[in-house]
């Protein structure tokens, strides 16, 4: 139809998208809860040398350690600072334990506190209530965690207090998914985390995907779309864009890489060598993937396990 031809595509290159929506001092959310972490986008931020970012990420893992080492981040907002079960993060620990080279400004929450900050942000609420934090030391080290009193009496007739967290509204949120159409309808399966909330909370959003696919493929299964076109600023095709994390149905998690990172990040020299070789000496993620080599890509391959089609139905009467 006519308007399909005139409608604006949201497809961009990664360099262009990062250039356009990230800026020094910006609040940037990079989400993906152990699944589909948009590592390639983080690397492009390092390549372009952005500074003084406030990075918002529930699980501050390898990509955060790398962006810290590259001096992109001045403030970290997070609820977990660790290399999953595989070890620890050298750069983050040096900055927190030894202020080496400088002290990290760290706003610490619990996981659900972070989820609620995104929920408040997506719903444009001034705060979001949660039943956490009573008795914990977290409110004593984070004055953004506050209380309100319920206007409804509880079963004992008391107007009880509850903790709340403030909204987070990133200047840009970056997430990764399996596929999208050219209009930016994002389809994802497996662990969907809080990607939708992080995108809706943001002023702009960049979504990297394994594949840009046809309108027909997306529209054959509209319930698979977790983020609709209107919430997406740029959609970028970046195969293997989540390595060393995984993309369900496309490639598996590179557990060797996670294990190796503890040793690399423990040694500043090794860490800088790594940044040089894998990020600064590559012009884009396709060169990073080439550098990984066939054997590694082969090792991360997954087999098939297809969903059974469901019927949306069509009008015949």
């Amino acid at each position: 139809m006519v308007h399909q031809n005139l409608r604006k595509s949201k497809v961009m290159g990664l360099r262009e998208a990062i250039e356009k929506f990230v800026f020094d001092g910006a609040t940037v959310s990079i989400e993906g809860f152990t699944h589909a972490i948009p590592t390639a986008a983080g690397h492009e931020i390092i390549r372009q040398g952005f500074k003084d970012l406030t990075l918002v990420r529930m699980t501050a893992d390898i990509i955060v350690d790398q962006m810290l080492a590259a001096n992109c981040i001045s403030t970290l907002v997070s609820s977990f600072v660790g290399n999953s079960s595989a070890g620890s993060l050298g750069e983050i620990r040096r900055r927190i334990e030894d202020a080496d080279p400088t002290k990290l400004n760290f706003k610490e929450y619990s996981h659900y506190g972070m989820v609620c900050r995104y929920l408040a942000g997506a719903q444009k609420l001034p705060f979001y209530p949660l039943k956490s934090y009573f008795g914990s030391d977290l409110p004593s080290i984070n004055d953004e965690i506050r209380k309100v009193t319920s206007p409804y009496p509880n079963e004992d007739g008391e107007f009880e207090e509850i903790y709340v967290v403030p909204p987070v509204n990133p200047d840009v949120t970056i997430v990764h998914a399996q596929r999208a159409d050219q209009w930016g309808n994002i389809q994802m399966w497996g662990l969907t985390g809080l990607q939708a909330e992080a995108v809706f909370a943001a002023e702009h959003s960049i979504v990297t995907v394994e594949e840009i696919v046809s309108d027909d493929l997306v529209r054959s299964d509209p319930n698979r779309t977790i983020i609709p076109s209107h919430a997406v600023s740029a959609v970028v095709e970046v195969p293997f864009g989540a390595h060393p994390s995984f993309t369900q149905g496309y490639y598996d998690r590179d557990n060797n890489f996670y294990r190796d990172w503890s040793a690399i990040s423990a040694d500043k020299a090794l860490l800088n060598e790594w940044l040089q070789k894998w990020i600064f000496n590559t012009t884009d993620h396709s060169e990073y993937v080439a550098l990984m080599g066939e054997a590694n890509l082969e090792r991360l391959k997954v087999g098939d396990a297809f969903s059974t089609p469901i019927n949306y139905g069509s009008r015949i009467n």
Binding site: N185, R219, T225, P228
Partner: protein, 256 residues
């Protein structure tokens, strides 16, 4: 040049479609709003992503929908959201450019009543109520209202019940809505409009052959007429052709 025949509904649909020029995210109801959006997509606003209260985003129905939840709206659509996301992230999140609403009563600031005629607890007529209308008016950047029967009974000085509050009214109570509220009202006589909350809806356009006095008499408040009142151009042959042959070929909503 020959004059074309068209129905009031065709006239309203064409007028609304023209006002959608350049809009991107439109929250539509069934009937004329859906037709106006389809016409705009073909003419003035190719980027429109149409959203329905039921949760459908980017609908591409194979037939005209009978309700906002018609199965033809879901099949072949771009996305389906649950209600927490639709109302919380899309509507309250401020993603809607234009919301379409109807109402039983409207006042000069665009407060809308769709709840009761008479007192709420002893109404002479019980109407359906808010549904999502309250949230559309409170959160859409602006709201278009279609009132097919412009009369003193529907265009009133004071609505019997404020179901959906104009931002003007919300701010008086301390609300901080950034919405512009009702900016356009489409009737059989023409268009009432305002650009921002705080100002009155004025008569800015009349359809060919309509007498301004009739419009004023049919309005329950002292209707102001905009200094450069426009005569709204008649539906063009192209617009009518799109409506009749492509958008509503069976005349489901546009009985001539």
């Amino acid at each position: 040049m020959e004059t074309l025949n068209y129905s009031i509904d065709e006239l309203l649909t064409v007028t609304a479609a023209r006002e959608l020029a350049g809009k991107n995210v439109v929250f539509a109801g069934i009937g004329l709003p859906t037709l106006a959006v389809s016409l705009a997509q073909e003419t003035t606003a190719p980027n429109i992503e149409v959203i329905y209260e039921s949760g459908v985003c980017g609908a591409h129905p194979s037939a005209l929908p009978a309700t906002i939840a018609d199965s033809v709206l879901i099949t072949d659509s771009e996305a389906v959201l649950n209600l927490a996301s639709l109302f919380g992230y899309v509507l309250q999140g401020g993603r809607i450019d234009v919301g379409f609403l109807g109402a039983a009563q409207i006042d000069k600031y665009g407060n809308l009543n769709s709840s009761v005629i008479g007192e709420w607890d002893t109404p002479s007529k019980r109407l359906p109520g808010s549904g999502g209308a309250h949230e559309v008016l409170a959160n859409a950047k602006e709201t278009f209202v279609i009132m097919r029967r412009h009369s003193e009974r529907s265009f009133v000085e004071t609505v019997d019940f404020i179901t959906s509050a104009a931002p003007d009214m919300a701010r008086k109570e301390g609300g901080r809505s950034k919405a512009r509220g009702v900016t356009r009202v489409f009737t059989q006589y023409g268009v009432l409009a305002r650009e921002e909350a705080g100002s009155e809806l004025q008569l800015t356009g009349i359809h060919a052959g309509v007498d301004v006095e009739t419009v004023i008499k049919s309005t329950g408040w002292a209707l102001k007429v905009h200094p450069d009142l426009q005569i709204i151009p008649n539906p063009s042959a192209d617009e009518l052709d799109l409506l009749r042959t492509e958008i509503d070929p069976t005349g489901m909503y546009l009985r001539s």
